[in-house]
């Protein structure tokens, strides 16, 4: 494999890992808008350990995952007790806080970043993806996976079935953050230099788009989303200049036509052009007599 192909494959692998990580929280219907923050946490943790303490990359990645999981559990605990609006706002703001903190932290080079990381190999990335896929494979066939789907479908009904909705969501969020953290560690040791600005809102949105494009129904949908969105700008050079507009439009068009993503069975009509009337009656609190 020549160096260019290897770089592309690693980039693709990291994108897949990010997509799979995000899929876990999306499977419970909880969308984070700041997953790049967990990437940053993973990337910086691993980078500090390998560069300043000369730990091995594999061990550092484990610690990265753990750190990101703790951060994820904390943010999840604050946000997931509240409505999805709060989740959106809190994750959005959290990513910004992480960026500001890293920017003003001299130990990690502040805004000019940290460098000297190396060691991400195709094998390492493939191994991580393998582990995650095995996990998701068994998850999809377990009652735990079923409870994720139930929460995504209808939280009130899930509570009536005895599911601890908040606890399960926080757990999924933490696992998701852990995988994202590991992906961040891998990406840091691929790009040689990391700066806080790499982990801004555009990165978060890209991760969301992987999963939204592929759909939350099956985890391999997220893989398809990641592959498509990573390869498109490589195949079509001109997209490089228009990627923001393209991604923005993709969000808008997808949400109107296929909010459940390209892949996935739907109990409704194939395209959602007709679902207009429901809009006004979308406020479904548990409560008063009808």
């Amino acid at each position: 494999m020549d160096a260019y192909t290897e770089a592309v494959v690693i980039r693709l692998g990291i994108a897949i890992l990010l997509a799979l990580g995000y899929w876990i929280t999306a499977a419970t219907g909880k969308f984070s808008f700041g997953h790049a923050a967990f990437m940053a946490i993973g990337a910086y943790t691993a980078a500090i350990l390998t560069v300043n303490f000369e730990w091995s990359l594999a061990t550092s990645m484990l610690i990265s995952g753990l750190t990101a999981a703790v951060a994820g559990a904390f943010i999840g605990w604050i946000a997931l007790r509240l409505s999805i609006l709060y989740l959106a706002i809190i994750t959005f703001a959290f990513a910004e806080i992480v960026k500001i903190l890293l920017d003003s932290w001299d130990y990690v080079g502040g805004a000019s970043g940290l460098f000297g990381m190396r060691g991400t190999t195709v094998e390492l990335v493939a191994m991580c993806i393998g582990v995650v896929i095995v996990y998701l494979f068994f998850l999809a066939r377990s009652r735990k996976g079923l409870s994720y789907e139930a929460i995504r479908e209808d939280e009130q009904a899930a509570r009536a079935c005895g599911l601890g909705v908040t606890g399960i969501s926080v757990e999924a969020f933490a696992v998701s953050a852990a995988i994202t953290g590991v992906a961040g560690a891998l990406s840091a040791h691929e790009t040689l230099i990391i700066t806080p600005s790499q982990f801004g809102a555009p990165q978060s949105l890209l991760i969301i788009l992987f999963v939204v494009l592929g759909g939350v129904q099956y985890f391999w949908g997220a893989i398809v989303g990641a592959v498509v969105l990573t390869m498109l700008p490589i195949w079509f050079d001109f997209l490089d200049n228009y990627y923001q507009i393209t991604y923005g439009l993709l969000f808008v068009v997808l949400m109107i036509l296929r909010p459940q993503g390209i892949i996935g069975r739907s109990t409704e009509r194939r395209f959602n052009l007709g679902a207009l009337k429901k809009l006004a009656s979308s406020r479904n609190g548990a409560g008063r007599d009808g």
Partner: protein, 292 residues
């Protein structure tokens, strides 16, 4: 110069109040967030700035243009991200409006370039000095216009039929619909008003710093979100009070600590609020936890 800083903080807070009102109106009407409002404010501000510097029109006209642009964009956002998006997917409008924001930012940078635009001083010779306190003409404009718009909004919501309809829809859209109110049109109106407020906030913020940049959309959204969380989601009055608070806190932090801590202190405050009083500082309603 504590007093001067307090006044500066309140002035900053008034522009925050406008954008917070803008967000809160949508939250109230639909229980959804329009994440494109920050970019809406940015586009309005840039249009206003172009009118002022290129065409040399009076400020009033440029301001009206900003309002119209804001209203238009918000109306389009409503259609693209809310009206035709299935309500079964609670996150869909958020994602879609984020997409609209992305498109707006990149359109502006493509069409008009990514330079900052200057907003010229409007009232050059006016200034008020009371003891050590000094307020220049443009600050007066910001204060008066922002206060006027807030008051007008209150009157509109409480005294006019359409305003009552908006409040009705935000209380219970099903019931209001049954009473014969055209719910969809009321929601569109809410978006348009919300866009107008965003436009006003954008140009007034530009006026206070005498510059607007096409990359401020995201930042504006973030500030507005912090304000409305602090004041309680959908709580109009709470949002205004929280906006003034955050304006003062930010100004004082920059003046007496350092600019790096400005955002962190606000985030910390909001974080504590979320853990201790998730319904916001100024909302009594405790039902927020169960809300979707």
């Amino acid at each position: 110069m504590l007093i001067q800083q307090l006044v500066n903080g309140l002035l900053l807070g008034t522009t925050f109040a406008l954008i917070a009102l803008s967000f809160n109106l949508v939250v109230g009407a639909l229980d959804r967030l329009n994440f494109a409002l920050g970019e809406t404010a940015m586009v309005s501000a840039i249009c206003g700035a172009l009118f002022l510097s290129q065409l040399d029109v009076p400020f009033v006209l440029a301001f009206l243009a900003a309002l119209v642009v804001g209203a238009l964009i918000a109306g389009i956002t409503f259609l693209l991200s809310f009206r035709f998006v299935s309500a079964d997917y609670h996150t869909a409008p958020i994602l879609s409006s984020l997409g609209v924001g992305l498109v707006l930012t990149s359109l502006v940078t493509r069409v008009l370039g990514s330079d900052q635009r200057r907003v010229p001083t409007v009232l050059k010779d006016v200034r008020i000095e009371v003891g050590p306190l000094r307020i220049v003409g443009d600050q007066l404009i910001i204060l008066v216009v922002a206060a006027l718009m807030t008051v007008l909004l209150y009157i509109f919501l409480n005294r006019t039929a359409w305003g009552m309809a908006i409040r009705g829809v935000s209380d219970d859209s099903d019931m209001t619909g049954l009473l014969g109110v055209p719910v969809q049109r009321v929601i569109l109106l809410t978006f348009v008003i919300s866009g107008t407020l965003a436009g006003a906030s954008g140009l007034l913020t530009g006026l206070s710093f005498h510059t607007v940049s096409p990359f401020t959309g995201f930042e504006t959204t973030l500030t507005a979100l912090m304000v409305i969380v602090l004041g309680g989601l959908g709580n109009i009055t709470g949002g205004v009070v929280a906006a003034l608070m955050i304006g003062v806190i930010e100004t004082l932090t920059v003046a007496y600590l350092s600019a790096t801590y400005r955002d962190l202190i606000v985030f910390l405050l909001v974080g504590i609020t979320l853990v201790a009083r998730p319904q916001g500082l100024f909302t009594r309603n405790t039902g927020v936890v169960g809300r979707v």
